[in-house]
């Protein structure tokens, strides 16, 4: 649980100091007042990455040299500062040089924002990224396997393209690697999906309040036995000069009452599905890791009708810390925000409401 947050020279904030509630903390303000930047700073502090940009320099305030973010996470003092390309990460004044070691000291976050709808509407790539993120949190072998798979895939595609007559003896040596790592990746993804399903289904029913039966289906790009799959596609691959089967072509199919969500679900339904997937992820992380991720919820309430909104608020994992930004509090019904702390934000200045 993050109890204190202090940032300086980050995005539009010169300096900024606030306490966060163990339950819900709300930041209310009009557009372009820095609401998302607060969530971003927490994400950077906890995970050293931002969903908005990859460049640290974007995050430093204009005409400032360095930015810093400080927070108290379950009694530990975390400090992240960046000056130009240099970064410093400390926990209780102990400095860490490796990202990995620092990340082991912090906690997980789940970012829930308006872009999440890409999970439903966007390409399969965004759904694979969603699965990859979850699976890499759950098993240590996943990320190395994924990296090895991607590297072997690049080499194999290169070999397929390079020669007029592909040299299959060399290509096959990479096919074996794809089979080895790909089988593991697909197994882990399937396992993740089966643990997501009960949560996502329940969330969809709860939040929609209707009989919206959500189903998640892992769609393989070819035969489930990868070794056979490559054998079957050999001719097509020689023709198209591309690796045609494997986890890099798999998809997560989402449907509501047996209809494909990307085509037939309404905007509101699609948003609800995306939310269900994200919140299901935080439930699974909590179940496996034994601790709650921090939920950073960026301005999603404007797009949902009031009943979905209120049901959504009650469906977050129990005891999870929630930090929410919103443009107005009109939607909040009596009592649903009890015990939460509310800040109003205007031109980078903070006021407790």
């Amino acid at each position: 649980m993050l109890t204190e947050l202090r940032i300086s020279n980050f995005r539009c904030f010169e300096s900024f100091d606030c306490s966060l509630e163990s339950g819900t903390t709300l930041f209310v303000g009009e557009n372009a007042q820095g609401k998302t930047s607060i969530l971003e700073s927490i994400c950077v502090l906890m995970r050293l990455q931002s969903p908005r940009s990859n460049k640290v320099s974007d995050q430093i305030r204009f005409d400032a040299e360095a930015c810093s973010i400080e927070g108290i996470l379950s009694g530990k003092r975390l400090l992240f500062s960046a000056a130009g390309p240099k970064r410093r990460m400390t926990v209780d004044n102990e400095s860490f040089s490796k990202r990995k070691d620092y990340l082991a000291e912090t906690g997980l976050v789940v970012w829930i924002g308006n872009d999440d709808i890409d999970l439903v509407r966007g390409s399969a790539e965004s759904r694979r990224r969603y699965l990859d993120f979850g699976a890499s949190q759950l098993s240590a072998g996943y990320l190395p396997a994924l990296r090895a798979y991607t590297r072997a895939l690049r080499a194999r595609n290169f070999l397929l393209k390079r020669d007029a007559n592909p040299c299959w003896d060399q290509i096959d040596s990479y096919t074996k690697l794809l089979v080895q790592h790909g089988t593991y990746i697909a197994e882990q993804r399937s396992a993740l999906i089966s643990s997501l399903v009960p949560f996502a289904k329940k969330l969809q029913l709860d939040v929609s309040g209707k009989d919206e039966l959500l189903s998640l289906n892992y769609v393989r790009s070819g035969n489930e036995d990868l070794e056979l799959a490559y054998e079957e596609k050999k001719e097509a691959e020689a023709k198209q000069r591309l690796t045609l089967v494997g986890p890099h072509r798999d998809d997560l199919e989402l449907s509501i009452n047996s209809l494909l969500a990307s085509k037939f679900a309404s905007e509101g339904q699609q948003r609800t599905i995306a939310l269900s997937l994200k919140i299901a992820q935080s439930h699974v992380l909590r179940e496996r890791k034994g601790s709650n991720p921090i939920l950073l919820i960026d301005d999603i309430f404007g797009e949902l009708d009031s009943s979905r909104r209120n049901r959504l608020l009650s469906s977050f994992p129990e005891g999870a810390q929630k930090i929410i930004t919103t443009t107005s509090l009109d939607w909040a019904s009596d009592g649903c925000l009890e015990g939460s702390r509310c800040y109003s934000l205007s031109k980078g200045l903070l006021d407790e409401m």
């Binding site: 240590a140 072998g141 090895a148 690049r154 290169f158 003896d169 060399q170 990479y174 690697l177």
Partner: protein, 204 residues
């Protein structure tokens, strides 16, 4: 007034040093200036050892390890080595690392790299055909694939194993094991190493 710069002699020294692996323009300048400031004997000694190594030592045509032009290959021509097992590695330096263990008494074969299509290195750029003819001609009972465990290393091992089996050669093919670092506690091992160690556990 002419602008001052390095004298021509030093410039060409810098240009030559820059060609060495791992040495950039700044490093080359630093080494050149340092060399100039040493006494002359050091420069003569340096040029002599470079000259000697290049003149007297080369790569063995058969196994790829270092070979003295006078005394022959240090590895192939050593009759005390166990001729029933051959260990395939990427570079001669890997041989020296393995020799330090003292555990391997067999013969070696240095490929001179690994198959890496993205860096434009194929089997024809490596000592692969000479490895095959060695296995065909000799009486090896076992081929140990001692290439690295990165993606290219694994691909090279797969390629060699397929090639040897494909030629119908009767020989055991083995791969170096992966797992816990010796003499270390579990807390020092990274996640992937532990994962591999768990994966490759054996019965006691």
């Amino acid at each position: 007034m002419a602008r001052l710069n390095f004298p021509e002699e030093i410039k060409s020294l810098i240009d030559t040093l820059k060609k060495l692996p791992g040495i950039g323009p700044r490093g080359a300048e630093r080494i050149a200036v340092w060399l100039i400031n040493q006494d002359r004997e050091f420069a003569s000694l340096l040029s002599k050892v470079v000259e000697d190594s290049v003149q007297l030592i080369g790569a063995c045509e058969i196994c790829g390890f270092f070979k003295s032009h006078e005394k022959g290959c240090f590895s192939c021509d050593d009759s005390e080595r166990d001729g029933s097992v051959i260990c395939v590695v990427e570079q001669p330096t890997d041989v020296i690392a393995l020799e330090k263990t003292g555990a391997f008494k067999g013969t070696y074969h240095c490929l001179g790299g690994k198959i890496a299509p993205l860096d434009n290195i194929g089997p024809e750029d490596l000592r692969v055909s000479s490895l095959i003819s060695r296995i065909e001609d000799s009486d090896f009972g076992e081929v140990i694939l001692g290439v690295g465990s990165d993606v290219e290393g694994e691909a090279t091992a797969n390629y060699l194993a397929d090639l040897i089996v494909g030629k119908g050669l009767k020989v055991d093919i083995t791969r170096l094991a992966q797992g816990l670092p010796a003499g270390g506690g579990l807390e020092n091992a990274d996640e992937l190493t532990l994962y591999r160690a768990l994966d490759g556990r054996r019965k006691v």
